[in-house]
């Protein structure tokens, strides 16, 4: 029997064509597809709009089965995705992307659950998307995380072998996350450290922003391939800019206005949290753009410095309340012995400072990549 397309499923459920097209627009937005104004060139047809690309895909592609595995995780990324913002989107995720295995959500337990997974792995071989939440653990052949009596390493290999693509959601699955924080007691690693013969995409964050995970799955569903990524395998539609780039406190940074302490006058006015340790300038994520819970807020807006949770090894990055290039003595305590902070505070050389920040950010990225590469080589050696 021919598999039903998503469009057919939606129509059966009573979704009108008009609502369907609206949904396509929402999805196109979620995917970060840029709208290119159609230009009529002689002899060429109009290029399709993002909505049309999405609509065409949903009309022709069957549901994509999802296998969601959890290793050393806290289920926070699962919780997050359950709060993905648009109700129509949640409808889509629950009904039209078929989540075939998900321990936190599924009805079946024990061997019935495992059987459901095995059947799915066989039936959809080469077609399903494997989503991994939580870090794999290498130490002592994987005994620090087992499910159904199997080691997490065997489970990962088994599920990855027939996957069309692998999505690592959350910092743990991407880079080892908190289990890999010093001293990494269980030798936790990222999925991409282990799976190298499949396309792997990283959706880091702690937790990952739900709309970024669903947006990436949708991108795959609609385009038939994963979005373009940066060197850390993060999809560009969501990780192309830093939190600082889109931060609503950014104008205060430019103006040299900083909060010196929680609950001081600057904090009350919404001044920049850079001196309180904000990692926004070196953190590539969509927090400040998409925000959380239907655009309600994000950490910096709520008065707390960004922890940098979408960057590799942010847990060991040198202190959440230490400014990256900020003075070690806080300004509000009377010290003016500052480097970058002083320059910014008097409003001088702002462009220079920004250039400096950017080059620092780049350096930081390079450093991370180098350390990633090192880790990879080490793993290969060990493997």
């Amino acid at each position: 029997m021919k598999e039903k397309t998503i469009y057919e499923h939606l129509r059966e459920k009573g979704v009108s064509r008009r609502d369907f097209l609206k949904l396509c627009g929402t999805i196109a937005g979620m995917m970060g597809l840029e709208f290119v104004a159609p230009v009529k060139a002689p002899g060429k047809s109009l290029s399709p709009s993002p909505e049309e690309i999405v609509a065409q895909a949903l009309k022709t592609r069957p549901k994509v089965p999802i296998i969601w595995l959890e290793f050393q995780d806290c289920a926070g990324c699962s919780e997050a995705i359950s709060r993905s913002s648009s109700p129509l989107l949640s409808n889509l995720v629950l009904n039209d992307i078929a989540i075939e295995y998900h321990e936190t959500l599924m009805a079946a337990s024990g061997f019935q659950a495992e059987r459901a997974k095995e059947e799915c792995l066989k039936k959809y071989y080469g077609k399903y998307v494997l989503v991994v939440e939580g870090s794999p653990t290498l130490a002592e052949d994987g005994i620090y995380c087992t499910v159904a009596g199997k080691s997490n390493l065997d489970l990962l290999k088994e599920a990855a072998s027939g996957a069309a693509a692998v999505i690592a959601t959350g910092n743990c699955a991407c880079f080892g996350g908190i289990p890999a924080a010093h001293p990494n007691p269980t030798r936790a690693v990222g999925v991409a450290d282990l799976i190298q013969d499949k396309p792997v995409i990283n959706i880091p964050g702690c937790p990952a922003i739900p709309e970024v995970t669903t947006g990436t799955i949708l991108h795959f569903l609609i385009m038939g391939q994963l979005p373009k990524t940066d060197q850390l395998k993060r999809p560009l539609p969501f990780y192309g800019n830093t939190v600082h780039d889109h931060c609503l406190r950014r104008p205060f940074y430019e103006a040299g206005k900083f909060a010196g302490s929680f609950d001081d006058e600057g904090a009350k006015k919404g001044y920049c949290l850079y001196q309180l340790g904000c990692k926004g300038p070196t953190t590539y994520n969509a927090c400040a753009g998409l925000k959380w819970e239907r655009g309600l807020s994000y950490p910096v807006q709520s008065g707390h410095p960004c922890l940098g949770c979408s960057e590799p090894h942010f847990w060991d990055g040198g202190g959440f309340y230490q400014g990256q290039s900020a003075p070690t003595i806080r300004l509000d305590k009377g010290s003016t012995a500052t480097l970058v902070g002083a320059g910014v505070a008097v409003g001088a050389g702002l462009a220079g400072v920004n250039a400096l920040k950017k080059s620092r950010a780049k350096k930081e990225l390079k450093k991370q990549q180098a350390s990633e590469a090192r880790a990879e080589t080490e793993n290969k050696k060990e493997g």
């Binding site: 499923h9 459920k13 009573g14 549901k63 089965p65 050393q72 806290c74 289920a75 926070g76 699962s78 919780e79 359950s82 949640s90 629950l94 009904n95 078929a98 989540i99 321990e103 936190t104 959500l105 599924m106 009805a107 079946a108 337990s109 024990g110 061997f111 019935q112 659950a113 459901a116 052949d141 994987g142 005994i143 620090y144 995380c145 087992t146 499910v147 009596g149 199997k150 065997d154 908190i178 010093h182 007691p185 269980t186 702690c206 937790p207 929680f262 609950d263 009350k268 006015k269 919404g270 959380w292 819970e293 309600l296 807020s297 950490p299 807006q301 709520s302 008065g303 707390h304 305590k333």
Partner: protein, 579 residues
């Protein structure tokens, strides 16, 4: 040899839980073994770090009961350093905690627990008109028309007929232990789906004060978001209005959906009012401080211990009493320097991984030896149950008026004796009763916060001890919270501005613990004994009782100090109060 069945993974929980149960010839459970199968070692990771940052690490212990470990952690550090937080900050924290309970309990009931009682496939046979009549007879909830339920039914039918059952595939549908008529099954399925949408819209308190959910941000000494009614960035009237609306949505769902559903479903499962209790010992550290952290007489949910179902005697446990609060590893994959038969007080704890289990892939665990990554915490050498049932029993025993009235109303409605509370059903009902109480408290905290702001008391952060140079050379702290799943304690040792030792005893470690040095089973293990299975291939009855505890395993497995130094200065005595 007795027949042994294994359920691994136990799904619809947080984390990796495995249950092995031995059955007699009548398919009745004679012994059960609970095993946590994942470990990360977060306490070890916390060592040598800045105590002001510990909340962020600790919070990642669990993403389902997010916030709870952050709260326990900041309280532990504030206790150690002697930091009092401003009243407005305390009210904001209480609101954050209350929202967590409500979100978590309702989500547990519908998304994690309901499918043990609601047969999704049976809902297809329902008459939507009858379901509509039932809905309209139990509450004024607006989604109640026959057309609405027909629409839900159509949706479920499309899923079933597609053959891609997705999350519903391979459930125990049609199992003889499902007792609801199709119409109530349809009601349950409709509210399962409604809950998914509802829950995505009621975490606004966390998002406003902490920037996101799960894992909102906190700060030692107060809360990160300042209050300024004349600022567009701080807590102002617009944000207060969003919060007020969110509280209304929560209370509407509790009053019009959650409680009526519980009372509509429970009469069909009264047999579960007689099984599934287990220990009869209960412990709570207490929650909702209305004064400072250690003014435990000002906790709305009291600190207490009940032994052997004796509701006449509530003991106040002292978390600093090294002679009573201990963790054992006799059956856990760790080793102690002084031998695995000894128990260690958390401030003096030590943990070294010692995996002695079978090499994966394996079929059975060796339950005679070590068989879990969970330790066995014991109070006065006794296993304890923690969670909603413990809290409600302590509130009931100490005469909390609203709780007493709610417990009695539920018992009357179900025509059940008081002893029925010591059961699987009692645990599930206690969670709902507690949610109702907390819904009222949340509204009260909100009103108190508004009153504080009106009175000009808008401080949200105490910076006196922010700078490490103001700290003593050495300090010990205990931080508590009542997580949705039960008593949670963090014990911290700070030395030379850094964390010297950090230990966590979480609800699911109490409840899911393996046997201890005296071979006493933990709460899950005890609760399953005597349960008869209709079909050992489909052990639905086990899931019902285990899910009634609301397991949360990532929390339960942890690791303490590998070097295991003694830290001393612990015992402050045993405090017995008969109320």
């Amino acid at each position: 040899m007795a027949n042994r069945i294994v359920i691994d993974p136990i799904t619809r929980i947080e984390g990796h839980l495995r249950i092995e149960a031995a059955l007699d010839g009548n398919h009745t459970i004679t012994a059960a073994y609970s095993s946590g199968t994942m470990v990360r070692g977060i306490e070890n990771i916390l060592k040598k770090r800045d105590p002001r940052e510990a909340w962020a690490f600790a919070q990642r212990i669990c993403g389902v009961c997010t916030t709870v470990h952050a709260i326990a952690s900041i309280r532990a550090v504030e206790d150690a350093l002697g930091i009092n937080i401003p009243k407005a900050a305390n009210l904001i924290r209480n609101m954050i905690i209350a929202q967590q309970y409500i979100h978590d309990h309702v989500m547990h009931f519908y998304i994690l627990h309901a499918l043990d009682f609601v047969d999704v496939v049976s809902a297809l046979r329902a008459d939507p008109k009858k379901t509509s009549d039932i809905q309209q007879s139990i509450s004024g909830w607006s989604n109640s028309s026959p057309a609405y339920f027909a629409e839900v039914q159509k949706k479920v039918k499309a899923i079933v007929e597609s053959g891609q059952l997705s999350l519903f595939s391979n459930g125990y549908w049609g199992h003889p232990a499902y007792k609801l008529p199709p119409e109530i099954n349809l009601l349950g399925v409709a509210h399962y789906l409604e809950c998914l949408d509802w829950q995505s819209q009621v975490t606004k308190i966390h998002t406003i004060f902490g920037g996101k959910n799960p894992h909102p941000n906190f700060v030692v000494g107060g809360v990160p978001l300042p209050i300024d009614m004349n600022s567009d960035q701080a807590l102002n009237a617009e944000k207060l209005a969003v919060i007020a609306d969110s509280i209304r949505r929560m209370n509407d769902f509790i009053d019009q959906v959650y409680l009526p559903d519980l009372l509509a479903v429970a009469p069909y499962y009264l047999e579960y009012a007689a099984v599934g209790e287990g220990l009869g010992n209960f412990l709570a550290w207490g929650e909702f401080p209305e004064g400072q952290l250690n003014e435990i007489e000002k906790l709305v949910f009291p600190r207490g211990v009940i032994i052997n179902r004796d509701l006449k005697k509530v003991i106040v446990p002292d978390p600093r009493d090294a002679s009573r609060m201990k963790e054992f590893v006799t059956h856990s994959w760790y080793k102690y320097g002084q031998g695995d038969g000894t128990g260690l007080f958390p401030w003096e704890g030590e943990t070294v991984f010692n995996y002695t289990g079978p090499k994966p892939p394996y079929e059975y665990l060796n339950v005679e030896g070590k068989y879990s990554w969970l330790k066995s915490p014991r109070w006065n050498e006794l296993p304890m149950e923690v969670g909603p049932l413990a809290r409600v029993l302590i509130l009931y025993a100490t005469g909390h008026k609203e709780t007493v009235a709610l417990v009695e109303a539920v018992l009357e409605k179900l025509k059940a004796p008081v002893s029925a509370v010591f059961s699987t059903l009692g645990r599930t009902a206690a969670r709902a009763i507690e949610t109702k109480v907390i819904g009222g408290l949340l509204q009260k905290f909100y009103e108190q916060l508004v009153a504080e702001i009106k009175a000009g008391h808008t401080d949200t952060f105490n910076d006196e001890k922010w700078e490490p140079r103001t700290w003593p050379k050495r300090a010990l702290g205990f931080g508590y919270t009542e997580a949705p799943r039960g008593a949670l304690g963090h014990w911290v040792v700070i030395e030379n501005k850094k964390i010297k030792n950090y230990q966590v005893v979480v609800p699911s470690t109490w409840n899911a613990s393996p046997r201890d040095h005296k071979n006493q089973p933990g709460a899950y293990e005890a609760s399953l004994v005597g349960t008869k299975l209709a079909n050992p291939e489909q052990p639905l009855e086990i899931l019902r009782t285990i899910h009634s505890f609301d397991p949360c395993l990532a929390c339960a497995v942890h690791l303490i100090d590998a070097s295991g130094k003694k830290v001393g200065e612990a015992a402050t005595g045993f405090n017995l109060v008969v109320r």
